[in-house]
């Protein structure tokens, strides 16, 4: 499918706009900002998974005159971090319930770090322990539930030649942006605060400040500093830190810096949700899958945060990119007494698609079919109908990405070779090689009616002095927002990219363009930016009668400034019914395939991922270099998820909460990544882009696990596929405990105060 105009297409890809500042060390991240007279802030946190807070004791022997102390009593507004539900407090009040380890209870600030460190040791929390819940299957508190049905699953299973069952578990994953969370609050002259920070969503923090501090829109000002990575991890928690910094700034009437160190960031901030997914799949001998019965449980942690929306995406994606006549998906998200889980690239889909793809590979093995052929047989094609009854009307590229990946990786040929070497394997062999394939879809933008409800706005202005400027709250955190938006506008106006400026992401200057999440920036906000530029061009050309590029300066001089505010307009023919949970769950889908080659050490059972061919349909490539960068980075995060990234918990506390113990891949661990970009555009936006950020995250892990099976013959059902789990599967010993579920210390178990 093609569209006639390609306004988003770059002729020559421009260099990253803020690149020189990042490369010379002059880009200012939050901790680089200097505010004379500023104090340092810190957070006193719970050290129990669940308890009643009886008192906060300050040591009377300590000189508290040098320290500002803030507790829940000092919160001027609602003691709530504004999000989907109003259940998470800014600080646990005395008499209230501590629901997880590392939960914020009190705040301190002092002029220097020494005083602050000393003061921290002089605060004691008095508590009464309450029984925590760690196992999501034992939890009785449900945050959300979704049920999807298509056809008749029971009849489908009954008619199948074979029914294959499997349970898959995944644990937490940390976003691990290299810049830790950081916020600085500065009291405003006219009341209220300015918060500078490392964040994805300026208006989320803005909303939280207004509610928690009971201040007006103008008194809450949020300014994004250069942001050293987000990946979802700076979507919601900055609201909490921004409130904390602001409370201390208002108390001291000074700038207050809340700069997390790595330990605090790992111990307290959100992670990818652990999940338990069970599949029953009915398949015919010819490879047709006739029924999918899927049960999905997400562990939300202690508060609602974004969990219902994560569950929604996880549920809709749980069957994988396959047109199956009979489907039942039951998804629920539950509370446990562990730190709340939240957004991380993929947002529920990587969990459910790991399960779906591994299950399909096992189904293929059970009927003696190749993983490639079983996908060819079942993949969605144009006109396919999803479990929400959405008809796929355009931009369907599952087949194309699958074939391109199989071809580029020589999947069939390599697989014959690995099978031969498996057949000849002798006890003297020290390594085993394998190849694995995975296919995924990823809904572009918000789920369901999310975008229509958000009511986002982007502005493009021609200032009185003749400068074209984009005003948007969409943030740059590595993806290249500040490069692609000027590209889109410059193309629409016929200007060189240098002639288009980006206003800073400051709520006092830019409208609410919605959050920088859900791979929506290029598609949704980019589309609105083009629409705004088009209206600006028409206004100016209408007045001057000449092309915009040669007349806009004259128009500005004669007519003064022109500003176009472009609100989101729902895409024609796209609709979703929240009540029945049916309809167009997404305006479009992106499609991705990955083929991984691995080498497994047969002594240590370590996995080296040698190469990955990643094929991603992004609708339309705006900037090839930036787009490939997204695929490469997402692919490596998926490799980490598959092989080494795991959080262990004891009594609900993360045990490996340092960078010495939570490992991510280095340059030596990373596979050689070959990226192939496919363009199957979304017709609802002028440039056709469908977004790219999350897409590669969905396919990497199942491809790696399939390759481990090809190398060793062992199916790994739990992520990550650590040496311990592979050894257990091959040698027949007990595997390590399920990922994501806390163990209980002997003392706590003996006290009998844990419901399990």
């Amino acid at each position: 499918m093609t569209i006639a105009a390609r306004p988003g297409r770059a002729v020559g890809a421009p260099l990253r706009r803020e690149g020189p500042a990042k490369l010379t060390g002059t880009a200012l991240y939050t901790d680089d900002l200097v505010f004379p007279g500023g104090w340092y802030g810190t957070t006193i946190r719970s050290t129990e998974p669940r308890a009643r807070l009886v008192a906060i004791d300050l040591d009377p022997a300590f000189d508290w005159s040098r320290v500002a102390v803030v507790t829940a009593d000092d919160i001027p507004g609602d003691n709530v971090v504004a999000s989907i539900a109003a259940d998470q407090p800014i600080l646990v009040p005395v008499g209230g319930e501590i629901r997880h380890q590392a939960e914020p209870v009190a705040l301190l600030a002092a002029a220097d770090r020494e005083t602050l460190r000393e003061a921290r040791l002089r605060v004691r929390l008095r508590t009464e322990a309450l029984p925590p819940v760690f196992d999501p299957l034992a939890s009785t508190v449900e945050f959300a539930r979704y049920d999807l049905a298509k056809g008749d699953v029971d009849a489908g299973l009954a008619s199948a030649d074979l029914v294959v069952q499997g349970t898959y578990r995944v644990g937490h994953q940390e976003q691990l942006y290299i810049e830790n969370n950081a916020m600085i609050a500065v009291p405003r002259a006219g009341g209220g605060v300015i918060v500078h920070g490392s964040l994805q969503c300026p208006y989320y923090v803005h909303k939280a400040l207004k509610r928690g501090l009971r201040i007006g829109s103008e008194q809450a000002q949020v300014v994004q500093a250069e942001t050293g990575g987000g990946f979802g991890g700076k979507e919601e928690y900055p609201s909490m830190i921004g409130l904390h910094a602001a409370l201390l700034a208002l108390r001291t009437q000074r700038p207050v810096r809340m700069i997390y160190d790595r330990h605090e960031d790992l111990a307290a901030t959100t992670k990818r949700h652990p999940a338990i997914v069970t599949h029953r799949t009915g398949v015919m001998r010819d490879g047709r899958v006739v029924a999918q019965d899927i049960d999905l449980v997400l562990d939300g942690g202690a508060y609602t945060t974004l969990t219902p929306v994560v569950l929604s995406r996880a549920t809709i994606h749980a069957g994988g990119p396959y047109d199956i006549p009979n489907v039942r998906i039951r998804g629920r998200a539950v509370m446990t007494n562990t730190p709340p889980n939240g957004a991380f690239r993929g947002f529920g889909a990587p969990q459910s698609e790991f399960a779906a793809e591994t299950q399909l590979n096992r189904v293929a093995e059970a009927i003696g079919m190749s993983p490639l052929d079983v996908r060819r047989r079942n993949v969605y094609r144009l006109g396919g109908i999803t479990p929400t009854q959405q008809v796929l009307r355009g931009g369907v590229a599952g087949e194309e990405v699958l074939e391109r990946a199989a071809e580029a990786s020589e999947f069939d040929r390599v697989r014959v070779r690995t099978a031969e070497s498996r057949g000849r394997r002798s006890p003297r062999d020290r390594t085993a090689r394998g190849i694995g394939l995975a296919l995924a879809w990823h809904g572009a933008g918000f789920t369901g009616s999310g975008e229509a409800k958000m009511g986002s706005v982007v502005s493009v202005e021609l200032s009185g002095d003749g400068v074209v400027r984009i005003l948007t709250a969409s943030t740059e955190m590595g993806q290249g927002t500040k490069t692609i938006f000027p590209q889109l506008v410059a193309a629409e106006l016929g200007l060189p990219i240098e002639a288009v400026e980006m206003a800073p992401q400051d709520t006092a200057l830019v409208p609410d363009s919605g959050p920088t999440v859900a791979s929506r920036t290029a598609m949704v906000v980019g589309g609105m930016t083009i629409q705004a530029a088009r209206r600006l061009r028409e206004a100016v050309e209408g007045r001057t009668g000449r092309p915009f590029a040669t007349s806009y300066r004259d128009d500005a001089a004669d007519h003064g400034a022109t500003r176009i505010d472009q609100a989101f307009e729902p895409y024609p023919g796209v609709g979703f019914d929240d009540a029945t949970y049916t309809g167009d769950a997404y305006p479009a889908f992106g499609w991705a395939a990955a083929v991984a080659e691995v080498e497994v050490d047969l002594d240590t059972f370590e996995v080296a991922v040698r190469s990955i061919v990643a094929v991603d349909d992004v609708g339309r490539v705006i900037h090839p270099v930036l787009c490939e960068g997204q695929v490469e980075g997402g692919t490596l995060q998926a490799v980490g998820y598959a092989t080494i990234e795991e959080i262990k918990l004891l009594d609900g506390r993360y045990l490996n909460d340092r960078l010495q113990t939570y490992l991510i891949p280095t340059a030596l661990d990373a596979p050689r990544i070959e990226t192939i970009l496919v363009e199957s555009p979304f017709a609802g936006v002028p440039h056709g882009a469908k977004g790219v950020g999350e897409l590669p995250m969905d396919v990497g892990a199942p491809a790696v696990v399939a390759a481990i099976h090809d190398a060793t013959g062992a199916w790994i059902h739990d992520l990550p596929a650590t040496p311990e789990r592979i050894m257990a599967a091959l040698v027949g010993i007990d595997p390590p405990g399920p990922p994501g579920i806390s163990t209980v210390s002997p003392r706590r178990a003996a006290d009998g105060d844990t419901e399990r």
């Binding site: 680089d32 960068g629 340059a667």
Partner: protein, 158 residues
């Protein structure tokens, strides 16, 4: 105590406790905030600088150990007259910097590799930057950038 350092070609004296981290001296006493703190325990490499030409993580180095040393930070790579260094230019062209927080440290490890004159094979480049974590790029375009800069060096003999 007072310590004498040459930082990016400029002789400097700092009067600070000897156990103060070099990273804090650079960022807070000298205002050179290009070097970043990602973990404070030598794992991430965001604070990487060159000490007498050798790669070091400045969060683990007390200033008393670098008295009289020559320090290079990211601020010392580009100059107003020559502009971006060859390696910085290569990062810009290949897309080696995304969020940019690992970039200063990555550049110094890459520069030390280029200065060593080693053959720029894929494996050798990866080994040279293995102490610098990047969460954005998958390392592909960083390795390309170092190889590109090495190629230009070998072409021009510079």
């Amino acid at each position: 105590m007072s310590y004498h350092l040459t930082v990016n070609g400029t002789a400097t004296e700092v009067a600070v406790p000897g156990m103060r981290r070099l990273l804090d001296v650079l960022r807070e006493d000298l205002g050179l905030t290009g070097s970043k703190e990602g973990c404070g325990e030598g794992e991430c490499g965001a604070c990487t600088v060159l000490i007498d030409g050798a790669v070091a993580v400045s969060c683990l180095v007390p200033v008393c150990q670098v008295d009289a040393a020559v320090i290079t930070t990211v601020e010392g790579l580009a100059t107003p007259t020559t502009g971006l260094s060859s390696l910085q230019q290569a990062f810009l062209e290949t897309g080696g910097a995304q969020c940019g927080i690992c970039t200063p440290g990555m550049l110094l490890s890459g520069q030390a590799f280029l200065d060593s004159g080693a053959e720029p094979t894929d494996d050798a480049i990866r080994e040279a930057i293995a102490g610098n974590l990047c969460r954005c790029t998958g390392y592909t375009k960083i390795v390309e950038a170092v190889a590109l800069a090495a190629g230009r060096r070998d072409e021009t003999g510079a």
